[in-house]
Symmetry: C2
Amino acid sequence: MQDKNQRDISIRLKKLGENSSFVNDEVVSERNQKRHYLHTLRTEHLMSDTLDTLENLTYDELHEGDTATFTRSLSENELVLFAAVSGDVNPVHLDPEFAACSMFGERIAHGMWSGSLISAALATVMPGPGTIYLDQSLSFKRPVKLDDTLTVSLTVLRKEPKNRVIFQCAVTNQNNQKVVTGEAKVIAPTEKVILYKPTLPKITIEGCG
Amino acid sequence: MQDKNQRDISIRLKKLGENSSFVNDEVVSERNQKRHYLHTLRTEHLMSDTLDTLENLTYDELHEGDTATFTRSLSENELVLFAAVSGDVNPVHLDPEFAACSMFGERIAHGMWSGSLISAALATVMPGPGTIYLDQSLSFKRPVKLDDTLTVSLTVLRKEPKNRVIFQCAVTNQNNQKVVTGEAKVIAPTEKVILYKPTLPKITIEGCG
């Protein structure tokens, strides 16, 4: 992998609308195992998916073997929100009493929730904004349970003509067990961008804190 | 396809917990292009994904060529909820001003939202409850925009040993344009079940009706 710390990157800061959050002067990215110090380091911002900005990696900046991660945990909120947004209201995801009698013994995540984390990693971390999603394969290996913490790991498998990039995708739980594996094909961005993350409106789930 | 209207189905009604909705005596399923009149027909219940119950189709009941559909529309709610649950807060999904300047000209759905509709169709319509998801391939063909209505179409491509079933999956918009295609491999249930759908807790998005 090339050392990109010293590279001259063209940064385009896009001011978003009223719903956006405008951050401090501190941006850190751990993509490619390197940190790009745009201003100053804030140590609590070590995961690229917890940054207040979205910085992409262009096709030219991606290299075989480059890796990135994205981490999320499963709470009851994810079970309810994913059921609502997908329409999959299967009680094995929603009803503790029913799930206790199922083969899993407790509520489990929707399998495609793990898929959505892979897509989020591609869209926000590597390559990030400007990526066009072409193909995704997913193999569901084991169930995800409440309080599990999943880490999506993306690895550049190969670069192809016309800005196509193939990523190996793995989602592992806190015990380092693979829960989902697959491959993604995207058109990587050709223009460098750093965007402020929009702030989501407040979402309230009745009966949840 | 066999005529299943007259088959003897073993129905197991599972009473769910306090959060569940308990329905009337009317259940209609259009799966396989046939209607199973368990009690009386309610004409507004023509889509199987709008029923108050989830009825599965067992491995033995599935036949090559069988089809099922599942329909959802994209509102701002889906954009916000999918961003929240996946972590993909890319402004092309959330910020009208930013999206207007993007190659799409307006906000678009997360590609994996369409994937989540396929998974919901498999989990709730065909084969339905008890299905174990093994593999899914997805090809993203075109963007999905606000107010688009997507229909997931599932077709049994083939049955394999050990209760495995391969489905062809297509998601089309209201103009009959394919937005996502793919294949799914599942372990179909072997036990017949009809479940009451859990009622989701109320979800409120600040600033949305």
